[in-house]
Every structure is written in structure tokens, then in C-alpha cells.
């Protein structure tokens, strides 16, 4: 009889903890957003531009490879199926619509969550356990303004830009596969690709990227601030940051698609 009561109590306390953490993360996000008006001040701009450089330029190599191969895989898989019906010319539309609507923002979100988000969680986590965050508070420097706001601005600006880059490269990757392995000329592929993708697809995809930027920053910074137990805690926070970001990106990706297309 003790076991169910114990389990219920444990579940209850975990739910309460989840609600508490979510509330804390939301408060952090809202406060950081309220400081965005200071982004161009001298003391914030240096850090913001540095974060933009880390998010944008330093992620380009991995995004290039992932985007190209995502487009190539999409083209190959759909192309092989369509060829059975003699319709391989339509791979252009399949790749462009998939990339612009879903795969572009989704793949960019996952890459940035794994590379930039984990780095943010590790950095802020290390700062937390080495008392640097406490030092900022004692100096009356708000960590949400000093650390979270520049990262938030950097990610919400760079995520849509990187998504456009991912989309372009993915579509180009599909064109290469179409031309070399499916006998679809680049001209026919591009004509087909532009014929079916709409402005709405692009806007919804960019909106997703914007939301994913907010999610990655919020989760990574929050996990960093919640870090305990020294180096082991930093490792745990980093891992949790990536897992939670992946899950939230998946769920929100679905919900946004449903909101705009159903």
C-alpha cells in the first residue's frame, strides 16, 4: 500500500518542480526580452555581436554539410519512388516544399541546439558553479540583461537567416542528385521547385526558426542557471539543454504546422 502513495507523491513533486522550472524559465525570458531595448547600447552590443558571430559564422560549416545532405537524401528517396511512376521531375517541388516548410527550420534548430545551445548551457553552468553569476548579482548586474539578452537577440536574428541558408543549400543538394542520378535537369528541377513553394511556406518556416531561436536560448540559459554540483552538474545541464531543446522543437514544430496548415 505504501508503494502507490509514494509513487503518487513523487510524481506530484516532479510535476510541481516542472511547473516551477517552467515559470522560472518564462520569467527569465520575459525579463531578458524587456532588456532588448538596450541591445544597441555600447555595453550590450559587443556581447550581442560576438554571440551573432558564434551562432552564425561559426555554425556555417556544419550547417552547410547537413543542409546539402538533407536535400540530397530527400531528393534521392522521393526521386526513386517517383521514378517508379515516371514522375521524377516532381522532386523539385518535393524537396523545396519539405525544406522550406519543415526540414530547413527543423534541421537548423537541431544543429544550433546541439552546438550553440549546449555551449551556452555549459558556459552559464560553469559560471554558476564558479560563483561568477553570484558575483554579477552582488555587483548589481542583472544576469538576464548581461548574459541572456545578447544570446536571445543573437539567436532570434541568426536562426531565420541560417534557415534561409539551409533551405537554399538543401534545394541545391536536391538539384545535384536530380541532375546526376535521376536525370532531371537543373532547369526543370528549379522550375518545379519554384512552382509549388509559396510565400506562406517561407513565412511559416521563418516563423518556426524565430520560435526555435527563443526556445534554444531559454532552455540553454535556464539549464545553465540551474546548474549545481560542479563539473558533473555542468555536464548534466548541457545534456538536459540539448534533450529538452530537441523535444520542444519537435513539439512546437508540429503545433505550428498544425496551426497554419490544418
Amino acid at each position: 500500500m505504501r508503494y502507490p502513495a509514494h509513487s503518487a507523491r513523487r510524481l506530484g513533486s516532479q510535476v510541481l518542480q516542472l511547473m516551477h522550472d517552467t515559470g522560472h524559465a518564462m520569467f527569465m525570458l520575459l525579463e531578458a526580452a524587456s532588456f532588448c531595448r538596450y541591445v544597441f547600447s555600447k555595453r550590450s552590443w559587443n556581447e550581442t555581436s560576438m554571440q551573432m558571430y558564434i551562432t552564425g559564422i561559426k555554425s556555417l560549416a556544419v550547417i552547410t554539410v547537413v543542409a546539402l545532405f538533407t536535400g540530397m537524401i530527400l531528393a534521392l528517396q522521393t526521386g526513386l519512388e517517383l521514378r517508379r511512376y515516371g514522375q521524377e521531375v516532381y522532386i523539385g517541388s518535393a524537396v523545396s516544399v519539405s525544406m522550406i516548410r519543415e526540414m530547413g527550420p527543423f534541421m537548423t534548430g537541431l544543429i544550433i541546439a546541439a552546438s550553440v545551445g549546449s555551449a551556452i548551457a555549459a558556459q552559464i553552468g560553469t559560471m554558476t558553479v564558479s560563483e561568477e553569476i553570484a558575483a554579477l548579482e552582488v555587483m548589481s548586474i542583472n544576469p538576464n540583461r548581461f548574459l541572456v539578452m545578447p544570446r536571445l537577440v543573437a539567436l532570434v536574428v541568426m536562426m531565420p537567416i541560417l534557415t534561409v541558408y539551409t533551405n537554399i543549400l538543401g534545394i541545391m543538394g536536391g538539384a545535384v542528385v536530380g541532375a546526376t542520378q535521376l536525370g532531371v535537369s537543373v532547369q526543370a528541377y528549379m522550375d518545379n521547385a519554384t512552382q509549388f513553394a509559396t510565400n506562406k511556406d517561407l513565412y511559416v518556416g521563418l516563423f518556426k526558426a524565430f520560435v526555435f531561436g527563443i526556445v534554444i536560448t531559454t532552455v540553454a540559459c535556464h539549464q545553465g542557471f540551474m546548474t549545481r554540483e560542479g563539473a558533473v552538474g555542468v555536464g548534466k545541464a548541457t545534456r538536459r539543454s540539448v534533450i529538452i531543446s530537441f523535444l520542444v522543437i519537435l513539439v512546437l514544430g508540429y503545433m505550428i504546422t498544425r496551426l497554419f496548415y490544418v
Binding site: 558575483a135 552582488v138 548586474i141
Partner: protein, 255 residues
């Protein structure tokens, strides 16, 4: 200046501070000693509200700080400089930028004036050559001195030192002790020092308070402290080879 009124704090089911009350007066160097886990750092964190007590009041300059708003708390915190155990320097900033940070955040000084003040503090702490280095390039003792330079750059009334000599060699430890004494002599700063190093405590303290299992077992001047009749204090003194007939008695008699 700082008053603890019946402070109790429970962490992880353990009573870390058990209804403790004491007062730190202006201009003194108040040293808190005790074994690891005695609640020394927790006490320090309550003074600047990095932690809130479960019951009781912390009063700074006559103002209870437990329930004040963020703006009022910022005002209270401007009275403090804190040297953290790990120095807590921002690793991506140079020494100069670390020390200048509070000035850049809270004053409208131009860069020339900030540079002058930073150079002055670095000179005071014998760090003039380290300004362009990053914290990772510095020794533990130098990092603590940079932390101290940052703590005093805004001319605080009170400086809190959390284990200022832990992890340092004896020579560097004594140098840090001298700095703490000089802060009081030259700048009139009130100091609260947390340490488990009794040699350091007896050298720099004008009063020493010992915490044990969340309670205050002694709160006395160094002369009275080494003559304490409390068994915990006696055992603590003996563990660091300090006796009533030892050099500390001789040394203290010169003060």
C-alpha cells in the same frame, strides 16, 4: 552595521544556521571560523541576500533586507564588495575589464577615468603588470587579488571575503592577510572574513566568531578567543597547533 537576528537556515534537511544572532560593527575586521560545513559561507551569503533565511532578520545599516525590492537591494549591495572563494572572475575578460566592469555598468565615467581608477587599484594590489592578462593566465593568489581589486573598485563600505587564503601557499596567504589589514587601515573598510585558517584569523581579526553545527560557540577578540573555555574552540585551536602559551599570545601582545 550588519546585524543577524535569530537567523535559521535549513538546507537539504540539515539545519545549517540554528537561531544565530550577532552584530558586525563599522570599521572592524570580523572573522568567522569553523569546520567545513559549519555554515560560514552560508552566513556570508545571507549578508548580501544571495540566500534568504527560513526565519529571522538580516539588518544592514538599520534596514532589514529580507523583504526589500530589487532596487532597494541593489542600493544595499552597493555598500558591499565581495571576494569570492574562487575569485569569480569573468574568464573571457581581461584583468582590466574585470576590474572595470562595475564602473562601466554603474557609472557614467569615461574610459580615461575608468582606466585611471583601475590602474590605481591594480597598483595598490601589486598587479600593475597583469592588466592585459586573462584570469586563466594568472596564479590562484593573483586571481584573488584581482577579485579584491574588483571588490573595492566602487569604494564599498564593507568587504566580504569568502575563504580568501584557501588553496594558496603560506607566503601568498600571508600576503592576502596583509592586504586585508591594509584595506582596513588605509581605506577604513569594514571586513567580514570567512576562513578555517586560524593563523590568518588571529592575525587579521579584531573579533572572531566560531560556528559549530549551526550555532555560535564563541564570539570574542583574538586574545579572548585563544583563552576560550569552550571545548570545540579548544579542540579547533589545538588542531592548528595554537596554544595559549604559543606565539600568538606573544604576537598579539604587540598590537
Amino acid at each position: 552595521m550588519i546585524r543577524f537576528e535569530n537567523i535559521t537556515k535549513v538546507l537539504g534537511g540539515k539545519t545549517v544556521l540554528d537561531n544565530i544572532s550577532f552584530e558586525v560593527s563599522a570599521g572592524e575586521t570580523f572573522v568567522i571560523v569553523g569546520l567545513s560545513g559549519a555554515g560560514k559561507s552560508v552566513t556570508l551569503k545571507h549578508m548580501i541576500r544571495l540566500m534568504l533565511p527560513d526565519s529571522g532578520n538580516v539588518v544592514v545599516d538599520g534596514e532589514p533586507i529580507n523583504h526589500i525590492g530589487r532596487t532597494a537591494l541593489q542600493t544595499v549591495r552597493t555598500k558591499f564588495g565581495v571576494l569570492f572563494q574562487s575569485a569569480a572572475l569573468l574568464q573571457w575578460m581581461t584583468v582590466k575589464d574585470n576590474v572595470a566592469l562595475p564602473l562601466r555598468e554603474h557609472t557614467k565615467m569615461d574610459e580615461e577615468e575608468i582606466g585611471r581608477l583601475v590602474a590605481e587599484k591594480l597598483r595598490l594590489l601589486n598587479l600593475s603588470d597583469a592588466g592585459d592578462k586573462f584570469p586563466a593566465d594568472l596564479s590562484g593568489g593573483m586571481q584573488k587579488r584581482v577579485g579584491l581589486a574588483r571588490a573595492i573598485i566602487m569604494s564599498p563600505q564593507i568587504v566580504l571575503y569568502d575563504e580568501p587564503t584557501s588553496g594558496l601557499d603560506p607566503v601568498t596567504s600571508r600576503r592576502i592577510d596583509d592586504l586585508i589589514v591594509n584595506m582596513r587601515r588605509e581605506l577604513g573598510i569594514t571586513s567580514v572574513v570567512v576562513t578555517h585558517d586560524l593563523h590568518s584569523a588571529l592575525s587579521i581579526g579584531s573579533r572572531i566568531m566560531m560556528l559549530h553545527e549551526g550555532k555560535i560557540v564563541e564570539n570574542a577578540t583574538p586574545e579572548e578567543f585563544i583563552r576560550s573555555k569552550d571545548e570545540t574552540v579548544k579542540s579547533f585551536l589545538e588542531s592548528q597547533y595554537i596554544t595559549k602559551k604559543g606565539k600568538w599570545e606573544t604576537g598579539l601582545s604587540h598590537e
